[in-house]
Amino acid sequence: MSRPMRNVLPGDALDATDRAILNALQDGFPLTPAPFDEAGAQLGIDADDLIHRLIRLRELGAITRFGPFFDAAAMGGAFCLCAMAVPADRFDEVLTKVNAHPEVAHNYERTHKLNMWFVLATDDPDGIERTARAIEDETGLKVMLFPKLEEYFIGFRVQA
């Protein structure tokens, strides 16, 4: 189970090149035999330097993922935002049960009566309902489904 560290990196943890890497590679990474050479050339560093910096950035926790981002819907599956109102004294127990499902792609605690918000990503269209019902059976709590009806922006960009 993945529970990323929630620490802010000290201001001097990343140098200008690290920040340039984080900014540039959010937009894309080459699909070619020597992609680190190509991406590095754009940044003015060689492939080995880029690879070593990426390994370090990953160890520092500055990167959560590096690789292909899949669209579950295009694969015949589905995504759905879900929410639960979890009593405080059951939070850890329910969290363990929810996160045990591989369909739970990410999960956030939020400041609301609906305090657990997670995304289900499944590779078949029935997976959302099936997983939500399984979580309800296991926890005895209602899983509210908030499927997207329309998307107004695609992508996520932070300035490093």
Partner: protein, 166 residues
């Protein structure tokens, strides 16, 4: 698990499975995946390109940990917007530079009157609240209620995983 998408054959699925946790950090990452799957590098690249072209792979990229990078205030702002105006206004809000992940979603009455979700990020909540006021101003009298849910913990972040049993 049966009946996978006919557009995604078993070799494509093996590539999805081999890359869904991330690319190997080696000089020739696609060759490394090809070797693991006992295919050629050319075939792996061609199949991944085809999946990119078809939108099955949205992009190959880095996802930075925005929290680690100092964007520690992350609010899911939610809005009750007139159904007749939501598409027009949603597009305007989605175009704001500080808004990520802007969606129309169903209300769940009576508890949840909100039909527009817009993620707002900042280095502290004061910054996020300023952005929230900008969204509020843009929505004007088409908005009948709002709330913001700050994230207090990332509980899991793995992305899509294909199930093993298929």
């Amino acid at each position: 698990m049966t009946a996978p998408d006919p557009g995604l054959d078993p070799v494509d699925r093996s590539i999805v499975r081999a890359t869904q946790a991330g690319l190997p950090l080696t000089r020739a990452p696609y060759a490394a995946i090809a070797q693991q799957l006992e295919r050629s590098e050319d075939e792996v690249i061609a199949r991944m390109q085809a999946m990119l072209d078809r939108g099955i792979i949205r992009r190959i990229a880095i996802a930075p940990n925005h929290y680690a990078l100092g964007m520690t205030a992350n609010g899911m702002s939610v809005w009750d917007v007139d159904d007749g105006r939501i598409s027009e206004l949603g597009a305007q809000i989605g175009a704001l530079p500080f808004v990520t992940h802007c969606y129309q979603r169903p209300r769940a009455l009576p508890d949840w009157p909100y039909n527009l979700f817009a993620m707002l990020h900042g280095s502290d909540r004061t910054q996020v609240e300023e952005k929230r006021r900008q969204v509020e101003a843009l929505l004007g009298d088409a908005c009948h209620g709002q709330d913001i849910l700050y994230s207090t913990r990332i509980l899991k972040k793995t992305g899509l995983r294909l199930r093993d049993a298929d």
